[in-house]
């Protein structure tokens, strides 16, 4: 498709064509759209359910006395955190994928994009503002639930492993950003919420299938080269998160599969933790950038 209107300038100084380089949009647009997305989400049912699930999870872990039990050497808040992080790994990605693609594709179908994009907002401001607003909406309930648990532990004089708490926060933020980037790309590539949800579920299923246990069960059994199994484990953000999360409590990797040993040998503990935070962020950003480029070049509503 060509777009020749820019050749007909009468009086206004020409703006640099937005296609030349990637920009975040003017600051005002960006923050306004981020605020808009937060405000819209606060009134949405999916957000109420989402916040309830993560808040409820922490409450349930307290109710079942996880802070008072000791299993495999984990006790106090560490025990609660390790359980919480494992549950987060199972449900956070699919929650983010489905709620994001459903609401964005649904908004497009219902005419929300048609109306809001008739207002003078830059496409960069719109897209990246949406992404940041949505990140706040999906990450903060998860973080606040964990922070509430830590606050309660402090009040009850239960020891809080603050270093691990900080690493978990960073890991969860990286995981949320990664799947948000994937969701933004799926939302721009699909035209209906049904297709978008189907695609999101498929992506999640593929990543779950390539977790360490399945790698162990299938790839090793089929005598794939060890490097292939390790490369797949390193490329899968879910596996990267899982390995890093367990590493903090299990430095000897007793609970993890064989690919983790190879990974640890190559990276070292600190190197791997840095990779586990940096890689999902880079991957999510790359998907989001592709999504933005597709969004900017196509039909908006």
């Amino acid at each position: 498709m060509v777009d020749e209107g820019a050749g007909e300038i009468e009086s206004v100084v020409p703006e640099r064509r937005s296609g030349k380089r990637l920009r975040l949009g003017s600051g005002g647009d960006f923050w306004l759209v981020a605020w808009l997305d937060v405000a819209e989400s606060m009134h949405a049912r999916w957000f109420a359910l989402y916040a309830l699930v993560f808040g409820g999870l922490v409450s349930l872990l307290f109710v079942f006395g996880l802070t008072e039990s000791q299993i495999l050497g984990f006790l106090g808040l560490s025990r609660l955190l390790v359980t919480y992080i494992q549950i987060c790994m199972a449900i956070l990605p699919i929650f983010i994928l489905i709620t994001t693609v459903r609401s964005l594709a649904g908004d497009r179908e219902a005419g929300v994009f048609e109306y809001l994009l008739s207002l003078p907002v830059s496409l960069a401001g719109w897209f990246w503002g949406k992404m940041i607003g949505r990140f706040a909406v999906v990450f903060l309930p998860v973080f606040f639930a964990m922070a509430a648990a830590a606050g309660w532990a402090v009040r009850q004089e239960i020891p809080v492993p603050w270093e691990i708490f900080a690493f978990y926060t960073a890991l969860l933020a990286a995981l949320a950003w990664c799947f948000l980037g994937i969701a933004m790309l799926i939302s721009t590539l699909t035209r209906s919420s049904d297709v978008a949800q189907g695609a999101a579920f498929l992506v999640w299923l593929c990543l779950v299938l390539f977790l360490d246990l399945i790698l162990l069960g299938v790839m090793v059994q089929e005598r794939f080269p060890a490097e292939t199994a390790v490369a797949v484990a390193l490329a899968n953000p879910l596996q990267v998160f899982r390995t890093a999360a367990m590493m903090l409590f299990d430095p000897d990797m007793v609970l993890l599969g064989p690919s983790a040993f190879v990974i640890l040998d190559a990276f070292g503990t600190h190197g791997y933790l840095a990779y586990a935070i940096g890689y999902p962020v880079a991957l999510g950003s790359a998907f989001a950038i592709v999504g933005y480029l597709v969004f900017r070049r196509g039909d908006l509503p």
């Binding site: 498709m1 060509v2 777009d3 020749e4 209107g5 820019a6 050749g7 007909e8 300038i9 009468e10 009086s11 206004v12 020409p14 703006e15 064509r17 937005s18 296609g19 003017s26 005002g28 647009d29 306004l32 605020w35 808009l36 405000a39 819209e40 009134h43 949405a44 908004d107 219902a110 005419g111 929300v112 994009f113 048609e114 109306y115 809001l116 994009l117 008739s118 207002l119 003078p120 907002v121 830059s122 496409l123 070049r297 196509g298 039909d299 908006l300 509503p301």
Partner: protein, 288 residues
């Protein structure tokens, strides 16, 4: 103000706009009419820079696609179907005003003139308003700021007679320095608002004609209506139009906005057998 040359748009191989050319000078009021699927919405979305296309689209000399902020800053848009926004009324006004560099109070004042008390509804989610309230609010966002081009898709369809009258007055205030493109699938809905009619059929212009009408947007027709007998349903209709009863339901007086005259006749059509006399006078009516 609007220049469209050889505009074509396809969706998955289906041609929706075909080599369409249209020039609209500044200050002109144009009705865009056509059946469902004629291409009106697609044309509007091209003008708003929301679709990619083949050909040329320029608003005030600028492409709405590549210069969207500069173009849209001066464009007020009212969609036919209100979007299901979950924002509250207050949040929507603040958001729109901030983007458009306007004042939310100015938008609230326009809404107030249309009979919508925004201050009382500010915490109400937009999606929970009635159809008429949503339409009034979207009109307020479009007219509560400085514009040069108004693009409206059946803007008055959900408005009550009082709100329609005020809406026509607002349009009249802007007629001198705004270009207007009003879309509808029925010509009688918009004919009185415009000076030019462009009809689309299968993505092409099938008619481009002038409207012969000396009335202005803010003209008012004083009306006296005499009925053969009193009828409750007629009375309800006339009260909705702001008419007052003079003689036990047999003689009614009121004022009809000039642009609404066709709509008024349509409302009376079903009671035509009851009408004994009907006068409409554009001058001030002192003696009826």
């Amino acid at each position: 103000m609007i220049r469209i040359d050889k505009l074509s748009k396809s969706f998955r191989g289906a041609r929706v706009l075909e080599n369409l050319s249209l020039h609209v000078p500044a200050g002109e009021r144009v009705a865009l009419v056509g059946a469902n699927g004629a291409g009106k919405t697609t044309l509007i979305r091209c003008l708003l820079g929301e679709y990619t296309y083949d050909g040329l689209v320029a608003v005030n000399g600028l492409s709405p696609r590549s210069h969207r902020k500069q173009v849209l800053r001066h464009v007020g848009f009212v969609p036919q179907l209100p979007p299901p926004l979950k924002l509250t009324v207050g949040q929507l006004l603040r958001f729109a005003a901030a983007l458009c560099r306007s004042d939310p109070d100015r938008m609230a004042d326009v809404a107030s003139g249309l009979g919508l008390d925004v201050r009382a509804l500010r915490r109400q989610p937009f999606a929970k308003l009635s159809g008429g309230q949503k339409q009034k609010l979207l009109i307020s966002v479009a007219l509560g700021r400085d514009t040069k081009l108004l693009i409206m898709d059946e803007p008055a369809a959900n408005l009550d007679p009082d709100a329609r009258r005020h809406f026509f007055e607002l349009l009249a205030d802007r007629a001198a320095n705004n270009t207007m493109l009003i879309s509808s699938h029925r010509l009688d809905e918009v004919a009185q608002l415009v000076r030019r009619v462009v009809e689309l059929e299968r993505g092409q212009i099938s008619l481009d004609d002038r409207v012969a009408d000396s009335g202005t947007l803010d003209s008012l027709l004083h009306c006296r209506l005499e009925l053969g007998r009193r009828e409750e349903s007629v009375a309800k209709t006339l009260v909705r139009w702001g008419f007052c009863d003079d003689a036990g339901g047999l003689v009614w007086r009121g004022a009809v906005p000039g642009p609404d005259r066709l709509r008024f006749f349509a409302a009376l059509a079903r009671y035509s057998g009851l009408i004994r006399s009907l006068t409409l006078d554009e001058r001030a009516d002192d003696d009826g």
